[in-house]
């Protein structure tokens, strides 16, 4: 993931996050050719719930944008609904729905007559997983469908459902 080598990314991540890594998959290596292998970056609260996820490798600008958005939306949820996890979850659900719809159409949904923004967004969101779309859009749909999931509950869906990678503890095989 080249984005992680960017100094701006490193500075922002070092300021707002404590970082760690975990091997969840493997790949096969033939000389300099790699077969398989992938990466996913999760932005989490200290209680191990996931604010946002970036499935697959992205460039530094995209990584920095998504990381900043994760920080902003988490701070806004805590500011709007302090000490109310259910409302914070609803806030993040709407935020991910807005990001999904905005990234796909470029238009920002607005609340209609007698309908809140959350209801409007929920009405516009697809009811099934948007397979085949951009990985980041799939990630936003997943976080809209189940906001603030625990990392242990969602990482299998991201790794196998979005990235199509097998979860394994097998070591990397080199030929």
């Amino acid at each position: 993931m080249n984005a992680l080598a960017d100094e701006k990314v490193g500075e922002f991540v070092g300021t707002h996050f404590v970082s760690a890594y975990k091997k969840v998959g493997t790949f096969q290596k033939d000389g300099d050719t790699k077969t398989g292998g992938n990466v996913a970056a999760y932005f989490c609260l200290p209680d191990e719930t996931v604010i946002h996820v970036i499935p697959g490798p992205v460039d530094a600008a995209t990584f920095l944008r998504e990381a900043r958005w994760a920080v902003d939306v988490a701070e806004s949820a805590a500011l709007e609904h302090p000490d109310d996890v259910f409302e914070q979850r609803a806030y993040l659900k709407t935020a991910h729905g807005l990001r999904y719809l905005t990234d796909r159409t470029g238009a920002v949904p607005r609340p209609g007559k007698g309908m809140s923004l959350a209801s409007r967004v929920n009405a516009l969101m697809p009811k099934k997983e948007p397979r085949g779309e951009e990985l980041l859009s799939q990630a936003h749909w997943l976080m809209w469908n189940s906001p603030l999931p625990r990392l242990s509950d969602v990482y299998q869906t991201v790794w196998t459902g979005i990235l199509n990678e097998p979860l394994t503890d097998l070591p990397v095989r080199a030929r």
């Binding site: 993931m1 707002h16 890594y21 969840v24 998959g25 996913a40 932005f43 990397v172």
Partner: protein, 164 residues
């Protein structure tokens, strides 16, 4: 057989009756003999009387009364349990002794201190980001530092550039 002549016993002479002209026959005993005789004769009686008097004035042991007195002292001993309440007052001391163990608790907390020092050992693995060695440490440290957590899931070994 030779004739044995026994000595002739002289008949006892009758006491001579004193005459009127002659002073009566006064015993020739010493004047201190009679008091001594009286003392010897009365001594046992006096000693017996003194012994009886001492025995009478002496508080009788009354063993039967002592047997009765034992139960009398029992209630007295029962009253002493009030001081026996003092052991109850000692119980707080036992609590203090129990409180003494908490000092060992700090040593338990001390092993936790190395944990914060371990996260300080971060590696970058060729990136611009410092990584702690496990997600669990990252969540603990983030809760302490009021930060968020970034967990990178990947295939391969992040610490080996050839296998990432």
């Amino acid at each position: 057989m030779p004739k044995v002549t026994l000595p002739r016993l002289r008949p006892a002479r009758a006491p001579r009756r004193p005459t009127d002209s002659e002073p009566p026959d006064v015993p020739t005993t010493a004047p201190w003999v009679w008091p001594a005789v009286v003392a010897v004769a009365c001594g046992p009686f006096v000693l017996t009387a003194v012994g009886l008097a001492v025995a009478a004035l002496r508080p009788p042991p009354r063993p039967a009364t002592e047997v009765v007195a034992v139960p009398v002292f029992v209630p007295a001993a029962a009253e002493e349990p009030a001081p026996a309440a003092e052991p109850i007052a000692v119980e707080p001391r036992l609590v203090e002794i129990v409180e003494a163990p908490p000092p060992p608790a700090p040593p338990v907390a001390e092993p936790v201190k190395p944990a914060p020092t371990k996260p300080a050992r971060c590696d970058r693995f060729g990136t611009a980001i410092e990584f702690v060695r496990s997600p669990a440490l990252a969540f603990d440290r983030a809760a302490r530092d009021q930060k968020l957590v970034m967990v990178l899931h990947l295939a391969g070994y992040f610490d080996d550039p050839g296998f990432t």
